[in-house]
Symmetry: C2
Subunit: 199 residues, 2 copies
């Protein structure tokens, strides 16, 4: 038996409807567990004010994105609101090769695609208590017009239906509670005895 | 969707070789999460100094124990060092009926029997870093004679081989770390989306 208390690094995927609190939780996890590698998604959408290339997204052209798709570079990709978003498979493989856990922030479809290729991935769904609360949160961010908000809410409702395929659900009623549950899930998984046995 | 952040109560089984730190962790969990019901085992062994009936064990006569076996009252039972030990099935069922989690402190065989009847049970193995450290801990407890210690160590070695069937492994190098991992496993499981869907 290896004399480590950790049974190995893991793949953690966070999903939530817009306004579910995913971004805040990702920030918290980066700070609390600096050893986790955060997977920066690649996108063809234009940077918004405050977006930083390499931190929020890797911004590339639509043409460059299509080339990546053809060359099978993405573990998951999709077009959302008319733009490409995707995760290079190397984001995951490179982290695991270094013996480090990797955290991904994906929509439900993306999470499913990761789970298909990496069945050991841990899927965590964060949600606000209800659609009304979600609406309030999206509006209070003040970044989007009403049409965008309606579209996001429609997507959110559809996503909520799919969460039975997830491993964990965190109800984000109180962000500090949500952070504690998120940290607990991460720490617990470090103790998990993997099938096939790492010990 | 129910507006609870908990997906339901769980069955938690702690196992460890003697000296692995199980007793200390059980005490910690009782204090930190008073809502968990601790399953008190039934035994036919004689109380040791400090043992309290109903707290450490339910002490009954060998004849009464055999009657319980015949009536199929035990979810698991065994003879260890010549005495009967067992868990009444009602310990688990009553807790779950109340919507509360239940914590069991069992040997590896007992844990397996619980998992067979309750596949959703979460099996956690606590272990000291190595057999030598284990020996030191058992001896420093100062309760047992050398023959007992040898027998316990032999059992401990056999138990260690079986832990691949467990869900989690906590290496008890530092008791405070071990407590944190134990609490994390419990909290994480409260967020688990059960197959069949409680949400």
């Amino acid at each position: 038996m290896k004399t480590t208390k950790h049974t190995g690094p893991g793949i953690f995927v966070l999903s939530s409807p817009s306004g579910g609190g995913k971004t805040t939780l990702v920030k918290f996890m980066k700070k609390k567990f600096p050893d986790i590698i955060y997977s920066v998604s690649t996108t063809s959408r234009k940077p918004r004010p405050g977006d930083k290339n390499g931190r929020d997204y890797n911004f590339i052209t639509p043409a460059a994105f299509r080339k990546g798709i053809k060359e099978n570079k993405f573990v998951e990709w999709a077009t959302v609101h008319g733009n490409y978003y995707g995760t290079p498979e190397l984001n995951i493989k490179n982290a695991l090769k270094k013996g480090r856990s990797v955290l991904l922030d994906l929509d439900v479809k993306g999470a499913m695609q990761v789970k298909k290729l990496f069945p050991e991935a841990v899927l965590i769904f964060i949600t606000a208590p209800g659609i009304q609360e979600l609406r309030r949160r999206i509006i209070s961010r003040g970044q989007d017009d009403m049409e965008t908000i309606r579209r996001r809410l429609k997507n959110a409702r559809e996503e909520l239906r799919k969460i039975k395929c997830f491993d964990f659900l965190i109800m984000n009623e109180d962000i500090r509670d949500a952070q504690k549950y998120m940290a607990a899930i991460y720490k617990a998984e470090l103790c998990r005895i993997k099938n096939g046995g790492r010990i």
